[in-house]
C-alpha cells in the first residue's frame, strides 16, 4: 500500500492536512472526528539528526498549541542513518531530545500511540515509536532488531541455526507477530481492516503504564524479563 492510501485508512479525508517533507510525516489530522497530532517516517527512510529535530518540533508545537490531544506516531524507517558527521554532531543527543519532547507531551496529558506501518528497525524504532503508551503494528510491517541474515553476518552464527532456534525463541525472529509475542507490540493489525476505528479504540484505551514485560511473559516471547524486573523491585525494597 502506498503512503497516501495508508494515511487515508488511518485519517480519512483529514490525511490531506498532513505534510511529508524529506520522508518525514508531520501535522494534524483527525481520527473518528477527534483531532490528533501525527508524526512519522515513510518509505523506510533513515532517520538522522535533522529528521529527529523536525519531529521534535512537531511535538513541541502540539504541546504548545493543542494541549492534550493524542499523538499518533507512524513508523516506517530502516534505522538511524550510519553517518560520521551525524555521529560527530551527537546523533544520540538528537534522539534523546525527541524522546524528551515526547515525555513532555506525556506529562502534559497527551496520549501517545504508535503504529509500525513499514520498517520499524533498531534505533529508528527506539528513538520515538517504542516510547509510546501503546504500540501496534500492521501485519505487513518489518519489526525487530534486524533480519536474520544481518544478525548472522554480525554474530557469525549460521542463518540456519538462527532460524531453527527462532522457532522456540521468537526474539530471534523478525516481524510484527514475533515482536508481539515479546510484548513489544500490543496487537498486530491486518491492513485494510478498518484502521481508523482500530486506531481510535487504541487511543481510547491507552494508558501510561508500561506493560510490555508482563505481556512478553504472558505471551511466552520473553520468559525472563518480567520476573527479573519484579525481583529487582522486590529485593531493592527490602
Amino acid at each position: 500500500m502506498n503512503t497516501s492510501d495508508l494515511l487515508q485508512q488511518f485519517f480519512g479525508a483529514s490525511a490531506s492536512r498532513l505534510t511529508i517533507t524529506d520522508k518525514l510525516l508531520t501535522g494534524y489530522a483527525s481520527v473518528d472526528g477527534a483531532e490528533v497530532c501525527v508524526l512519522g517516517t515513510v518509505d523506510g527512510t533513515y532517520i538522522n539528526d535533522s529528521g529527529a529535530l523536525h519531529l521534535a518540533a512537531q511535538v513541541i508545537d502540539c504541546v504548545k498549541t493543542r494541549p492534550g490531544i493524542p499523538i499518533v506516531m507512524l513508523v516506517d524507517s530502516a534505522g538511524q542513518e550510519p553517518n560520521r558527521t551525524a555521529e560527530m554532531l551527537g546523533l544520540p543527543v538528537y534522539f534523546g531530545h525527541l524522546l524528551t519532547c515526547l515525555e513532555v507531551a506525556r506529562q502534559s496529558g497527551h496520549k501517545l500511540v504508535t503504529v509500525a506501518t513499514g520498517k520499524a528497525i533498531a534505533g529508528a524504532f527506539i528513538c520515538y515509536g517504542m516510547f509510546a503508551d501503546a504500540i501496534y503494528a500492521l501485519d505487513s510491517a518489518s519489526v525487530g532488531l534486524m533480519p536474520v541474515e544481518a544478525m548472522s553476518a554480525v554474530t557469525k552464527i549460521p542463518v540456519a541455526t538462527l532460524e531453527e532456534l527462532s522457532k522456540s525463541l521468537p526474539a530471534l525472529e523478525f516481524g510484527a507477530a514475533p515482536f508481539a509475542l515479546l510484548g513489544g507490540v500490543k496487537e498486530v493489525w491486518p491492513v485494510d481492516a478498518g484502521l481508523e476505528s482500530k486506531l481510535s479504540a487504541a487511543i481510547a484505551e491507552a494508558t501510561t503504564e508500561d506493560t510490555r514485560a508482563q505481556l512478553g511473559k504472558e505471551r511466552g516471547g520473553r520468559p525472563q524479563a518480567y520476573d527479573v524486573q519484579q525481583r529487582v523491585l522486590a529485593e531493592s525494597a527490602r
Partner: protein
C-alpha cells in the same frame, strides 16, 4: 602504586572504586545465577550476572542505585536479563526517588537475543523518564573504550546527566558500521584519532552533550558523580524548547563541517594539538577561557 585508570577497570572493580567503601549491596548477586537462556543455545558462555552488576550503595554518603556493565562480556551488550535488571533498578529508583548511576560500557542491544534486548532498552528509556519526572537523578558515566553505542547511546542521551572521560565515546552507529556504509574514504575506522574526535568525551563536552568531563581516574569520576547527584533535568516545555534551539543552532553552525577539529576551532579551541593532549581539567579551563 598508581591508581588504575577508570577505563582499565572491570565492572565490579568500578563499583568497588566508585561506591563508598563497603556500601554496595548487590541485587541478584552472582550465586543467584540469573543468566541468559539464549547464549547457551548458541554455544556462547554465560556470565553469572549477565554482564551487569546492580545494587544499592552510597556515593559521597548519599544513597543511590548503581549499575555497571561488563564490556568484556559480549561487548557489554544488552540482552533480556541484562535489560530487565536495568529496568528493575531504574523503576526502583523512580519508586524510591533516589539517584540512579549507570556505569556504561556497551555496544548496545545483544544481537544474540534479538529483539528482546531492543524492547528491554525501550523499557529502560521509559523507566529513565519515570525517574526524571519525579526528580530521581539519572546519571550515565561513559569512560570506557567501548563507550555507549547503539541503544545504549540513545539511553545515555536520555539521562539527566552524562559524565565522560576522554576515553569514553557516545554514539549510535559504530565506526566499523559507518565505514561499511559510507566507505573507507568517509570514515576509516582504523583511524582511532578520528574515531575519538568524532564520538569521544572531549568533542561531546565541547558540543555541550555532557555535564562534565573528568580525568580518567576513579576519584575524578566519583567526584564528577557527586557533583551532579542533586542535579535534575525535569522534562518540561522550557527545557524542550531550549534544547530544540540549541540543537538547531548546532546544525546551523556545524552541519556543513566534516572535520571535528573544525568544530573545536569554531568553538574557541585555538591550539587543537595541545587541547587534544590536555587532561580533562586543563581542557575545560582552556576551553572555558577561550570561549568566555
Amino acid at each position: 602504586m598508581s591508581q588504575t585508570p577508570y577505563h582499565e577497570l572491570k565492572a565490579r572493580e568500578r563499583i568497588a572504586a566508585i561506591a563508598d567503601a563497603g556500601s554496595f549491596n548487590e541485587i541478584i548477586p552472582p550465586p543467584e545465577r540469573v543468566m541468559s537462556m539464549y547464549l547457551p543455545k548458541l554455544g556462547i558462555p554465560v556470565a553469572f550476572d549477565d554482564g551487569l552488576a546492580i545494587g544499592s550503595a552510597t556515593i559521597g554518603g548519599k544513597r543511590v542505585y548503581l549499575a555497571a556493565q561488563a564490556g568484556q562480556f559480549v561487548g557489554g551488550s544488552v540482552g533480556e536479563v541484562h535489560s530487565a535488571k536495568l529496568v528493575g533498578l531504574l523503576k526502583a529508583a523512580a519508586r524510591d526517588k533516589i539517584p540512579c548511576v549507570l556505569l556504561i560500557e556497551s555496544g548496545g542491544v545483544r544481537l544474540h537475543e534479538g529483539s528482546s534486548g531492543e524492547i528491554g532498552i525501550a523499557e529502560a528509556i521509559r523507566a529513565i523518564f519515570a525517574c526524571r519526572s519525579v526528580g530521581a537523578t539519572t546519571i550515565a558515566v561513559i569512560g570506557s573504550d567501548i563507550g555507549a553505542y547503539g541503544g545504549m547511546g540513545i539511553l545515555s542521551a536520555c539521562c539527566d546527566c552524562r559524565i565522560m572521560t576522554e576515553h569514553g565515546r557516545l554514539g549510535i552507529s559504530g565506526p566499523i558500521v559507518i565505514e561499511k556504509w559510507m566507505g573507507k574514504e568517509a570514515y576509516d575506522s582504523s583511524d582511532r584519532a578520528l574515531v575519538w574526535k568524532t564520538s569521544g568525551g572531549k568533542t561531546r563536552y565541547i558540543l555541550g552533550d555532557v555535564e562534565t568531563l573528568v580525568n580518567d581516574s576513579t576519584s575524578a569520576v566519583k567526584q564528577g558523580i557527586i557533583s551532579v547527584l542533586t542535579k535534575s533535568a525535569k522534562p518540561d516545555l522550557p527545557l524542550a524548547e531550549t534544547q530544540q534551539a540549541k540543537l538547531q543552532a548546532r546544525l546551523d553552525q556545524f552541519g556543513k563541517m566534516t572535520d571535528p577539529d573544525e568544530i573545536w576551532m569554531a568553538s574557541g579551541v585555538t591550539d587543537v594539538t595541545t587541547a587534544t593532549l590536555d587532561e580533562a581539567e586543563d581542557f575545560i579551563k582552556a576551553f572555558t577561557r577561550k570561549t568566555s
